[in-house]
Amino acid sequence: MQVDFGAKELTVKLVYYGPALSGKTTNLRAIHWLGTSSACGELMTLETKNDRTLFFDMLPITMDASSGLKVRIKLFTVPGQVMHDATRRLVLQAADGVAFIADSQRSETSANRESFLNLKRNLEDNGMDPQRMPIIIQFNKRDLNDVRSDEELAAIASQSREPIFRAVATRGFGVMQTLVGLIRETWTKLEEEHQLEEKFGINAVRFMHEVESNLRHQTGSGTR
């Protein structure tokens, strides 16, 4: 988190992590397409000619909170391919929260696990404590065959420390819920650490209402 007291401006960095081709960039595209143009800026993609993320994608979101504070939320994706580990570590620096985009297909279970371990290792390498990092998990690609069932996910969710979301990012289902969920987790943690309400008079519950109304003019299906 970066604070500019003079400009009454607060910047939060959220990173979409996950295995290659799990739909991180698709999530950002869907947010850009579903979100209001007043809040969502231009989606910047740094990709190769094969549509694979090379460095990262970035989507800036700007909101004027009722307390007079300007809140800038910057969404980043990391490149999922294994060889780009150094870039993933760089993008992860200074992250305030992480959305882990998992592929629901059974065949991708081990890729999800590998990527999550990689996230944990890279957080540690960056001197960040994975235990204290706000993380939510999205099971994407719910529309494909041979995915882990809803019952399985419900069972996982009841055990999981991280909130679990389901999504079909190509159709925009569940992406906004995931984003709002991630902002909520992150804000709760930032409030604990920095007493934002005390310093900026910005109440967490009211802020989340503002996030929802600023961000959304449409809603997809998909639930927690």
């Binding site: 604070v3 400009a7 910047t11 910047m44 460095f55 990262f56 800036p60 870039t87 570590r89 620096q93």
Partner: protein, 469 residues
């Protein structure tokens, strides 16, 4: 971590700090020039840092004329400075000039942050009918007709059109900022990724270097251990052999035939053990580079016949034909006679061990040449020098060695077939010691072989100079 300085984390957050970092003056000037050419409206682009990034305008006759008048010049300067200092937040400011013209000051924001502004004007709104009184009531002497004439020549635009034109220019400039920012991030990330990869590789290299040094240390320790243990083993063994000899010679009373036979077995096995321990000791010293060589000129014929007479009894037992030949003109060898004998004896023993009944083992010495220093092949003429050498070959008609195994025959404790240890004896130390001894003499050793046909070992050793004796 809260950072009060906005610049520190800008790259990590993908932010733009200054407009001039991402907006090239050339491209923005080109865009503004074409805007001016199309609509005749002057444009200035200013960053929040106060830098003038583009300025395209033509002095209007009205402004030129007013600047010749004291009151006009003062009012003109005041207006220009007011317009320059305007910093609009969120919305465009339309600022009037006393001439009846206006300036539009449009804020430039990027990703929710103010970056700068652009100023379009002066132009006269097309809706205005005539010159305002603020212009026509200037103090001092001036020509009202000239003033009115110049006023009529000012660029005119309808306000709603002016607003659309400004929206368009704002969109174009934002796009330029976006592309500039994208290029800046790509190059920053490129450099940062390379640096990060380098750091990671350097760390790994360091770890590898450390474990390599550790292994070297262990290797050294192994050699020292080998040398020490062999030495300590040899002392009691010498006593065992000595006392066995004394018993055998009757020093402690007469021995029965059976007792003598047992003693001979003890002696024989103790001798075998002593040879093995001596080999271990040699290997330990050779690896620790502490074995001293005392080179002198050694006659090849004497060397070969000495070895031959040692192995003849064994060759006769195994029905192996032993051929020894020293070619005409073979020079003397420059080497340690004891170690040279050890080399040749070892190779001959080995050859006999793997040659069956009725086979042949040949020892041959001949004059040769040896290449010194430098790499062979490319540029060899520059590096290599040749010197006279003696080539010793040991050929057998034995079982041979498979090509895949050839590279490893010189490894200590290695035997091509683990079964051969039982069938032929030996600990797999011989060839390893031979190679190290040959290396110690600055010689070379090569093995060629064909399975079921036999093996040829070629040792090339430096020849002694004529005056070495």
């Amino acid at each position: 971590m809260i950072e009060d300085e906005t610049t520190a984390g800008d790259i990590l957050l993908g932010d733009v700090t200054r407009l001039e970092d991402v907006l090239s003056r050339d491209s923005v000037t080109k865009v503004v020039k074409s805007f001016f050419a199309l609509f005749g409206l002057p444009v200035r682009v200013i960053s929040d840092e106060g830098d003038l990034l583009a300025d395209v305008h033509r002095d209007q006759p009205l402004c030129r004329y007013l600047n010749t008048l004291a009151d006009g010049a003062a009012k003109c300067a005041a207006t220009v400075s007011e317009v320059r200092d305007l910093e609009p937040v969120g919305d465009t400011i339309v600022h009037p000039c006393f001439t009846g013209a206006v300036y539009r000051v449009v804020p430039l924001a990027y990703q929710g942050r103010s970056m700068g502004r652009f100023i379009v004007g002066p132009y006269v709104p097309a809706e205005a009918n005539s010159a305002p009184t603020s212009l026509t009531s200037l103090e001092g002497a001036f020509d009202p007709d000239t003033l009115r004439g110049h006023y009529d020549h000012m660029p005119r635009v309808r306000e709603d059109i002016a607003e659309q034109l400004c929206d368009h220019l704002e969109g174009v400039l934002e796009l330029l900022v976006f592309s500039g920012h994208r290029a800046q991030l790509a190059s920053t990330m490129q450099v940062a990724s390379v640096r990060e990869n380098y750091r990671e590789l350097a760390e790994k290299n360091e770890a590898l270097q450390e474990s390599y040094e550790e292994l070297q240390q262990l290797d050294k320790l192994k050699s020292t251990f080998l040398a020490t243990v062999s030495h300590e083993l040899r002392t009691p063994l010498t006593s065992i052999i000595g006392y066995a000899e004394m018993l055998e010679s009757g020093a402690a009373g007469a021995m029965s035939n059976e007792q003598t036979e047992f003693l001979q077995t003890i002696r024989g096995k103790a001798d075998e053990l002593l040879t093995l321990i001596s080999s271990l000791l040699d290997l330990g010293r050779l690896e620790a580079k502490t074995l001293e060589l005392n080179p002198e000129a050694v006659d090849a014929r004497a060397l070969l016949s000495g070895v031959g007479s040692t192995v003849v009894p064994a060759a006769n037992r195994q029905n192996i034909t032993l051929d020894i030949e020293v070619a005409e003109g073979t020079p003397k060898i420059w080497g340690d006679p004891i170690r040279l004998r050890q080399i040749l004896l070892n190779l001959t023993d080995n050859a006999m061990k793997f040659t069956g009944n009725g086979g042949t083992v040949s020892l041959l010495a001949a004059a040769g040449e040896q290449e010194l220093g430098g790499p062979s092949g490319l540029g060899a003429a520059l590096f290599a020098t040749r010197r006279p050498a003696v080539v010793l070959t040991v050929r057998d008609t034995g079982i041979g060695i498979a090509e895949t195994e050839l590279a490893r025959v010189f490894d200590a404790f290695y035997q091509v077939d683990a079964g051969t240890t039982r069938a032929h004896g030996g600990a797999g130390l011989g060839l390893s010691i031979v190679r190290q001894l040959v290396d110690g003499h600055e010689g070379t050793i090569e093995v060629t072989s064909k399975v079921a046909e036999g093996t040829l070992v070629t040792v090339t050793l430096p020849a002694a100079n004529d005056n070495d004796g």
